[in-house]
């Protein structure tokens, strides 16, 4: 279903020739799965203004905590999610403050 929707959006936007507009029309979901005590994918690249969502699929709570403290989730129980919109380009390293071996990175590019 997701694939169908992507195609539809792409089709509509082709005549506009404006990639950035795609985000205004239908902001892409950027999801990081928390599973088996890892962030997957461990690193993702997004454009500034993108909302990234983490979903905990483990039976154990985790957190999403920026190393520079620019964002920090509460403890996410199973199937809880946390979202943060990255406005500024840069590299955002984060970890699980309960299981600090779990680390990940969001790379934010200028649109």
């Amino acid at each position: 279903m997701a694939r169908t929707e992507t195609w539809r959006v792409a089709f509509l936007l082709v005549p506009l020739l404006a990639g950035a507009a795609a985000f205004a029309v239908d902001a892409p979901t950027n999801e990081v799965k928390i599973e088996n005590f890892t962030f997957a994918p461990e690193a993702i690249t997004v454009l500034a203004g993108t909302k990234v969502t983490w979903v905990n699929r483990d039976d154990i709570p985790h957190t999403v905590t920026a190393q520079d403290h620019s964002f920090r989730s509460k403890a996410l129980d199973t199937n809880d999610s946390f979202s943060f919109t990255f406005e500024k380009p840069g590299e955002y390293a984060y970890f699980c403050s309960i299981h600090p071996k779990m680390v990940g990175k969001i790379i934010v590019k200028a649109p």
Partner: protein
């Protein structure tokens, strides 16, 4: 390194370590570990053994360790962690010799909620023993990173909740290695606590038996899963001169033991759910076991050589 169902002595009789009358593991029963100190030297015995006639007769201090109750956890393999804690409590109450006190090595709660702490306390209180706690990482998940825990359990403690006390000539030290964890790292004690520890033991004679308890193992048990403490070795360096050091941890929901020099390390089983042996699963989450098997991993029905299946049955019976 693994615990065994039968009492295989650790370092029994062939080197200098054991001649110090070191720690010997008789058997383990998961719900709790009964510690006995004869002549000031701790030894441990599993609850089912302690309940049986084969238990060594304690002549000195006895105390009990429970760990990882995870009250609030409600998923397979244990959707009723209160029930298994209740069974552990019932079992403790039937011990023929009443222990002097109990220690809880953390993860009392699953999500640091008031109700979870309340529920745990209500059950644990039934044992009728003083309980000494240290927090697990699940007990410091509130917005203020452990304030709830400290308000409840932290009276008379320092920093994030560390403290020491003396009983029967043994010096007990409760450490906190679950706060202010660093990205990419393991458990963490931190400078302030390390300095306190160094001062705390400075005046003690080297013959004083030391018992250290903390949630995350103080030694590098399996760092790939975060099972270790980054500055644990520094803490242990302050204890090098002591003839008997026993380190009791939880966190990994299974028994692991190691003897290194004068230091004996032990981890206790949980009362909530088992975790896989190091490296045997994609991650250290709860280990799924058949419903009928769960209590074997928690130890309530761990009855290998105890002629006391009936003890377990009695323990499951609510007290009058």
């Amino acid at each position: 390194m693994n615990g065994s169902d039968h009492g295989e002595p650790l370092q029994d009789d062939d080197d200098g370590v054991s001649r110090r009358g070191f720690l010997r593991c008789m058997t383990w029963a998961g719900t709790g570990v009964l510690w006995m100190a004869n002549d000031g030297l701790p030894r441990s015995v599993g609850l089912s053994s302690a309940l049986a006639a084969t238990a060594p007769k304690p002549t000195g201090l006895t105390f009990l360790q429970i760990s990882d109750s995870h009250i609030g956890f409600d998923r397979p393999p244990n959707t009723d962690v209160l029930a298994t804690l209740r069974e552990a409590v019932a079992k403790i109450k039937t011990l023929p010799v009443k222990p002097s006190f109990m220690i809880h090595t953390g993860d009392i709660s699953h999500l640091s909620k008031e109700k979870e702490f309340d529920d745990a306390n209500q059950l644990i209180r039934e044992v009728g023993l003083p309980v000494f706690y240290v927090p697990g990482e699940h007990d410091v998940l509130d917005d203020e990173q452990g304030k709830l825990y400290r308000d409840r359990y932290g009276k008379g403690t320092k920093g994030a909740g560390w403290y020491s006390f003396d009983q029967h000539g043994i010096h007990f030290i409760g450490l906190v290695n679950v706060v202010d964890l660093k990205a990419g790292g393991l458990g963490n004690l931190g400078e302030e606590q390390l300095k306190w520890l160094e001062d705390d033991v400075r005046g003690l004679s080297a013959s004083t038996p030391i018992v250290v308890f903390a949630h995350i193992p103080l030694w590098s048990l399996y760092p790939e899963w975060g099972w270790g403490t980054d500055d644990g070795a520094r803490a242990l360096s302050f204890l090098k001169r002591f003839g008997s050091v026993t380190v009791l941890n939880g966190h990994i929901h299974q028994i692991m033991q190691k003897v290194e020099g004068n230091v004996a390390f032990h981890t206790a089983r949980a009362t909530a759910f088992p975790q896989p042996a190091p490296g045997t699963a994609p991650g250290p989450g709860p280990m799924q076991v058949p419903a009928g098997e769960l209590r074997k991993y928690l130890g309530v029905a761990h009855v290998n050589f105890v002629p006391g299946n009936k003890h377990l049955a009695i323990i499951d019976t609510p007290l009058a």
